[in-house]
Amino acid sequence: MGQFIQLFVDGLSNGSIYAVLALAIVLVNQATGLVNFAQGGMAVLSAYLTWWFAEHGIALILAILLSVVASFLLGGLVERFAMRRFEGGDPDTAVVVTIGLLTLVTGLCGIIWGYNYLTFPWFFSTGAAFTVGGITISWWSVMSVVVIVVIMGLLQALFAGTKLGLALRAVADNPQSAALSGLRVGRLLMVGWGLAAVLGAIAGTIIAPKLQMAPQMLDEVLIYALAAVVIGGLDSPLGAVIAAFAVSVIQNLVAVYVSFIGSDLKIIVPFVIVVIVLALRPQGLFGRKQVVRV
């Protein structure tokens, strides 16, 4: 029993890594209607920016803030100068462009900062943990879960309760119609990408100290995050987070309790879940079903 609970808690801890990135993917989808594969790359770049600021003697908390601001601007610029020309056309084209951006951005990080693992400074040791009833919980996990809950609350408030959030959703849904209602579509898309980049920055910055920092550090995380988004529903922040935790916990349990899978094959677990969910509920477990009428 103790082992089961420990595996469960470790799963939640890992899941919070996937959840942060999954949230960023949901945000971009809500604000632009696209699945943004570049999200992982943008998060990595932001993490490097935080690191770089910190290396230059800026206090970590300030370095994070600077990186968040820089990421917001970069996200907006990426929309304006890379995505803009593809937005009117086939969404599949735009998605392929985001895959290209992912390769480009991680490659740039590699050129600038190299592919060696770097140590990311943090407020406390990421190994620090406490024990409750025989279960070890790391402070880092507690922190990341708190951050996720806060972000989720903010996103929910933004999209459901504010005029800006409503405008972002309208632009993603039907840009032509949005313009006819007086919305400045281009500017709102830039804001949407900027906000997504901010989420990416937060994701990259809290993940980096846990993993070791390298341009490829989020490649695997991105795959799990995408799986979580597909399972939870592209339009549901809460769904994506729950799915991220569920995927990670199930994966952990299966690796230990199903002997023929073990830790070597555990990577297939999320994908088996994805296939099952897509077959039974294509909009995701928490997604809203799209009804199309004419």
């Binding site: 005029k163 409503l166 405008a167 959703r169 309208a170 849904d173 039907n174 032509q176 119609s177 949005a178 313009a179 006819l180 209602s181 007086g182 919305l183 400045r184 579509v185 339009d235 809203r288 799209q290 009804v291 199309v292 009428r293 004419v294």
Partner: protein, 236 residues
């Protein structure tokens, strides 16, 4: 006083010339119809006004030349366009669609009372208030599109083929509601409609387009009295 004036307006999609000299005018508070066959350029005329197609000629709204302005700038000047196909935001609820219509307004109370007014005008929408627009029937979506445009409190409403895809009885309900909207709000309207009988429920006069040119204008009574018009657009 003239609110909107089009003078020899031209427009093309790529190399295909669609408008080849359209002239018409809408008086302040008036309602004008645009009649014509498929492909005559009715929709493109509206699009040239709202800035969603590249145009030549002169388009003057409230004394200012608006040709070449972007759609959001045109909207900000007080022109609301109900596009062909309704342009609903399918993933937004009925209420959210209406709030997007009022995006440029700042008067909270006015917005809420206008929503009340619309729900009274379109009782169907009241029942679907919290549903996603994509779940609405065609008629309900058309009502929502008209409502969304009204929420901007425009001075001029551009209405494109509101009867498209609707059962005749539903189309009548929609047009009667639009006529009531006009009576109670005094908003000027430019109404594109293939079914002239429906258009005459709302408009006082109309312009007939043929292959991208305006060929004839007249009051509703004049046009209804002409045999050729009756045969071509009023079903005998």
């Amino acid at each position: 006083m003239t609110l909107l004036e089009l003078e020899s307006v031209t427009a093309a999609y790529g190399s295909v010339q669609v408008l080849d000299g359209v002239s018409l005018s809408v008086p302040d508070g008036g309602a004008v119809g645009i009649l014509g066959a498929n492909g005559a350029g009715k929709t493109t005329t509206l699009r040239s006004i709202s800035g969603t197609v590249r145009t030549g000629g002169r388009i003057v709204f409230d004394g200012a030349d608006i040709r070449g302005k972007r759609p959001e700038q045109v909207a900000a000047m007080g022109i609301a366009h109900v596009p062909e196909g309704r342009g609903s935001f399918g993933t937004l609820t009925v209420r959210e669609n209406l709030r997007i219509g009022a995006y440029l307004r700042r008067d909270r109370r006015g917005i809420e009372s206008d929503i009340e007014f619309l729900l009274d005008l379109f009782p169907n929408l009241k029942e679907r208030y919290k549903s996603n627009a994509s779940a609405l029937s065609g008629g309900e979506q058309q009502m929502l599109a008209v409502g969304r445009a009204f929420m901007a409190r425009p001075r001029l409403l551009l209405l494109d083929e509101a009867s498209l895809g609707l059962a005749p009885s539903t189309a009548k309900v929609v047009y009667d509601a639009i006529a009531r909207l006009r009576r109670e709000s005094g908003i000027a309207m430019l109404v594109v409609e293939q079914n002239a009988n429906l258009a005459f429920r709302v408009v006082d006069s109309a312009t007939v387009l043929e292959t991208g040119r305006s060929v004839l204008s007249g009051t509703s009574a004049e046009l209804k009295g002409r045999d050729d018009i009756r045969r071509a657009y009023l079903g005998g």
